[in-house]
Symmetry: C2
Subunit: 333 residues, 2 copies
């Protein structure tokens, strides 16, 4: 029997609702223990949904646009597909929710609707980053723009639990993103966070990590403020896209290069799939009372499936409760 | 006749002194108007220097190691090749200096030895970033870890002059690095800087730039604090290196892929040369009394040549004086 209910915002993201529905169906076929509630325009959802006994629809008449002011949109659009999904988490009708909609609105909704865990000052958005050696978990990538040292400590504690419980890393290496690896590097916030994290003997803290080591897989958990993390994440996406575009353009101008590209295709495909966000389950809003998973705005069904799967793991592992306990033990206010 | 004297730290960087000497000779052959003073161990320099009438040697017995505390090293090692080169700028024996040594020590030396321009609160290290459409100039990438809004305004003013005078861009587009393009994005510092920069009608300010647009060539000048800029710059280097390593590894395992790579070689070479730091003249420490150019630590002779060439342009264009005038007109204290 199913014992996990996940609310999925059927209207968020570039490929809603068709790819969202397809991802939900895929997830229900794969996991026998989940029930999914799709929120949004019933007619539109029905028109593209392959019926399934464990997929239900909850009508929601509004949609939050990507360019709306996040907090205002969440406050005002009470009948939006995203807010309705989050209200289900708040009421306990669902244990988690997934949305491919506006990141800002998801963060705002996480705080304003779902609510922060007791003791959590600010939430963090964490994202699995594929790197040469492993999958690193980086947080915050945009929930809390600037942080106090105490926030970064809480991010380290939350990242540690996520990496261990959801990504399956035993005793995760934790590093703090800074402008050099020497102890004297960093601004006051980073230096302060370093001191606080060093005091937590249960964290396997390994000091600073520099920008060039982010993709080398030198850490299981990379802790930073939301401003820096957001820029780093987007820069990485931007570089990959620029290289792909430039390569495509150059190759198109030469027959020899085209032949070379054909022969190289399997290698390039393998390389690209390594950095493919669709496999890595979206980003998790940590520090709120439930599983709140953000799927990439361009998500197609495999990415939606991954995000639902991450929400399921989060719920199965009681990650929110573990975080809450950890924060309260740590007595960080 | 030569009328520009540039002091070059012959002992700084991974390939000193041989590649530094070779770069200096190349520069003297190319530019008839420069005189170069190589600072460092006379014997070692002589052993690899092709003699040239406009290249002289100034003995310096010490070397600053990359892992020394930057400010302490500059203060204590008064006879280090880097400090001796900077002292020549201070005394007026040279108008500029070039070093491939420790970035931190160059920044410290720029402030402690060469000295800040009147009205400059904090210096900035600016670096030309190759992107899809153009060369963008990004500052600060590590001189001033965290900034006040006034610092970022000064960086915008200095970047504007560098882009226009040294990189030859007429009316440079200036953007401020932030975690989104909407006006409400950014922390208090970025928001404050935005307000200040908007008031400068002589700046062609175009608002915020996000991480993913850094390499798209959406701005001629990208302004940020030294913490963020340092991480972005190093992340870019790290991604390029990781891709190169992964591609090399994958290709080595397949004969078909190897053949493909051979056919694709000209395209890949072209693509790589686009992002080759050796062509782009090193980074410039702006806000100090003279031309202080940092060459990449791994510089070989072409990169040293580019850095000397950037110092020559800086001096020829009176860039330090222009910056000083601009800052004083702007009445920023």
């Amino acid at each position: 029997m199913s014992n996990i209910t996940i609310a999925v915002d059927a209207m968020g993201g570039d490929n809603a609702p068709a790819e969202i529905c397809a991802g939900a169906v895929k997830a229900c076929k794969e996991f026998q223990d989940i029930e999914i509630i799709l929120t949004g325009n019933t007619e539109k959802i029905k028109s593209c949904l392959e019926p399934h006994s464990r997929i239900h629809i909850q009508q929601a008449s509004e949609i939050i646009d990507p360019d709306e002011h996040p907090a205002n949109a969440i406050r005002k659009k009470k009948d939006s597909s995203m807010r309705v999904a989050m209200e289900m988490v708040k009421s306990g009708d669902a244990q988690g929710c997934v949305s491919a909609g506006s990141t800002g609105a998801i963060v705002s909704g996480g705080v304003l609707v779902v609510g922060r865990l007791p003791g959590i000052d600010r939430p963090a958005l964490g994202v699995p980053i594929p790197s040469v050696e492993k999958i690193s978990f980086m947080l915050d990538v945009g929930a809390t723009v600037r942080c106090k040292p105490e926030n970064l400590l809480q991010f380290a504690l939350m990242g540690n639990i996520y990496s261990h419980k959801i990504l399956g890393v035993s005793n995760p290496d934790i590093k703090l993103l800074s402008n050099g690896t020497e102890e004297i590097k960093g601004d006051d916030t980073v230096l302060g966070a370093r001191e606080l994290i060093l005091q937590k003997k249960n964290l396997n803290f390994q000091g600073y990590i520099e920008g060039n080591d982010i993709v080398r897989g030198c850490a299981d958990v990379i802790v930073c403020d939301g401003f820096t993390g957001n820029i780093a994440l987007k820069l990485g996406e931007g570089i990959m896209k620029a290289l792909k575009d430039l390569l495509t353009e150059e190759v198109s101008q030469s027959l020899i290069a085209k032949s070379g590209m054909l022969l190289l295709a399997p290698v390039v495909k393998k390389l690209w799939s390594r950095f493919n966000y669709e496999k890595y389950g979206g980003s998790a809003l940590l520090g709120v009372k439930g599983a709140v998973i953000k799927a990439h705005g361009r998500s197609k069904s495999p990415a939606v499936f991954s995000a639902i799967s991450a929400a399921r793991n989060f719920i199965n592992e009681n990650a929110a409760e573990l975080i809450s306990n950890e924060i309260n033990i740590s007595e960080v206010k």
